[in-house]
Amino acid sequence: MSALYIARATQVAARSLDGEMMIMSAKDSTLFTLNPVATLIWQSADGHTPLAQIVEQKVCAEFDVAMDEALEDAEKFVSDLAAHGILLASDAPFGSATATQEGAR
């Protein structure tokens, strides 16, 4: 399975409130809040670190959760946010010539 890279969309507003991220889409003014695990993934979405590495090194290190389960949840979360244009997902690091984005529209 190829690695999945994630980057925060620039067309959103975001702020952490009491450890949870508030995100508003400029496109349709929809407000989202992320739980602490999702917030950690969002904050780690630098476009260069594979999602699996984020889950292993940050999520599993900070929360008491098994890697397989955490990765499955993280992939679903990424897919949901990518569909709303909140997060960008690609099979190559962002900025590289081969990056194919999902959810960038």
């Binding site: 067309q11 507003a13 702020r15 952490s16 409130l17 009491d18 508030m22 400029a26 407000l31 809040t33």
Partner: protein, 370 residues
């Protein structure tokens, strides 16, 4: 409870200023007859000072940032300020008259993904609008600016301040907003000058005009519900906070002065001399504002409108007492329901008593010392 209300409640519980309005200038190319500002520049914050304030606001947890003025585009660095604010991930709202928005500005605001741009339009008729802004050609230019923003996909909200001069034009402005693909809001509130001068209030709607507006379903939705008698005042209502000013929101002037709200000019500190968070947490003025619940208001706590009144503590402050009534809001409550407020009854009693004293004085025997 909506997600937005949930987040606001959480911000309130944690003492987080979730919304701040920053006026970047008081200078303006228009001279609106009802404006509450002095348009001279008394030493605006520099670009770097504003960047520093924005850093502090982001650190403090501010999410909603409204950039306003004056006319924001009087500052040549305004788009740089918006750019910097967006790099800090604020949800940016802008208030402007749109007069100076050309292709470049519209495109940049679109690229920067600002949440919305609010433009004041007073009338769909140039003669009326321009007579309020005192700038010939202003309606034409503002509409052109709105069209450019919309062409670039920027959400626009047309704010229609209602006053005597334009009281019959709200329908036309609403149609104009629809044609432009903009949202439409009305506001019948005229604010006293920040120096306390109340002369501009004479321009506002009187009770008969408010009554007419409040019964117009096109303006306020369900008129029957809007104008319904107020529900009974319960103990829970007495514990309620007047509004978000000083609790989860505040205002910063172009000179760095911090106030609870743009309509509440109680000086609470200055970001040029103090850290924003120190002002937010420790200002005696903001803490006094925070300490006030509805039950602490000597007149309003005994008013039947308490549960539904839109009493603005800032307007009350400008009337002389932040714990007192706001006559403008009393008039709105009366115009909605036809039921007098405690403040109105108190004033009537005072007038009657005052009359009796004058009569008594006239009847009293004069001293013979002369």
């Amino acid at each position: 409870m909506s997600l937005m209300q949930e987040m606001s409640q959480r911000a309130l519980d944690r003492g987080v200023p979730i919304a701040v309005q920053l006026d970047v200038t008081y200078r303006c190319n228009e001279r609106c007859v009802h404006c509450y500002l002095d348009h001279d520049d008394h030493g605006e914050m520099t670009t770097d000072e504003i960047y520093g304030v924005l850093d502090e606001l982001a650190e403090a947890g501010v999410f909603f940032l409204t950039l306003s003025g004056g006319e924001v585009f009087m500052r040549r660095d305004f788009l740089d300020i918006v750019d910097y604010a967006r790099s800090l991930m604020f949800c940016v709202k802008i208030k402007t008259n749109a007069f100076m928005i050309r292709e470049k500005e519209a495109q940049r605001l679109s690229e920067l993904a600002v949440q919305d741009v609010q433009v004041s339009i007073y009338s769909h008729r140039a003669a009326v609008h321009d007579a309020i802004t005192l700038l010939p050609g202003s309606l034409k230019r503002s509409v052109k600016g709105i069209r450019l923003l919309r062409a670039h996909g920027v959400k626009v909200v047309i704010a229609n301040v209602l006053m005597m001069q334009n009281r019959n034009d709200h329908g036309g402005v609403k149609e104009l907003a629809q044609e432009l693909g903009a949202e439409y809001t009305i506001d019948p509130t005229i604010t006293p000058m920040m120096d306390g001068n109340r002369a501009v209030l004479r321009l506002g709607l009187g009770v008969p005009q408010l009554q007419e507006a409040f019964r117009n379903s096109d303006l306020i939705g369900d008129a029957e519900e809007f104008c319904a008698p107020p529900p009974q005042v319960t103990d829970d209502v007495m514990q309620e906070l007047p509004c978000s000013a000083g609790h989860t929101a505040c205002y910063i002037s172009p000179y760095g002065d911090v106030f609870p709200c743009v309509q509440f000019p109680l000086p609470s500190g200055n970001v040029r001399r103090q850290k924003f968070m120190d002002i937010w947490r420790y200002s005696d003025q903001l803490n006094e504002v925070r300490s006030i619940t509805l039950g602490d208001l000597p007149v309003c706590s005994g008013c039947g409108h308490a549960a539904t009144c839109s009493r603005c503590p800032g307007l009350a402050y400008m009337e002389g007492n932040m714990r007192g009534p706001s006559t403008q809001d009393c008039e709105k409550s009366f115009a909605r329901t036809g039921i007098t407020t405690a403040n109105m009854r108190r004033k009537q009693t005072n007038q009657m008593t005052s009359g009796l004293v004058q009569i008594a004085a006239a009847l009293a025997p004069r001293s013979a010392s002369a």
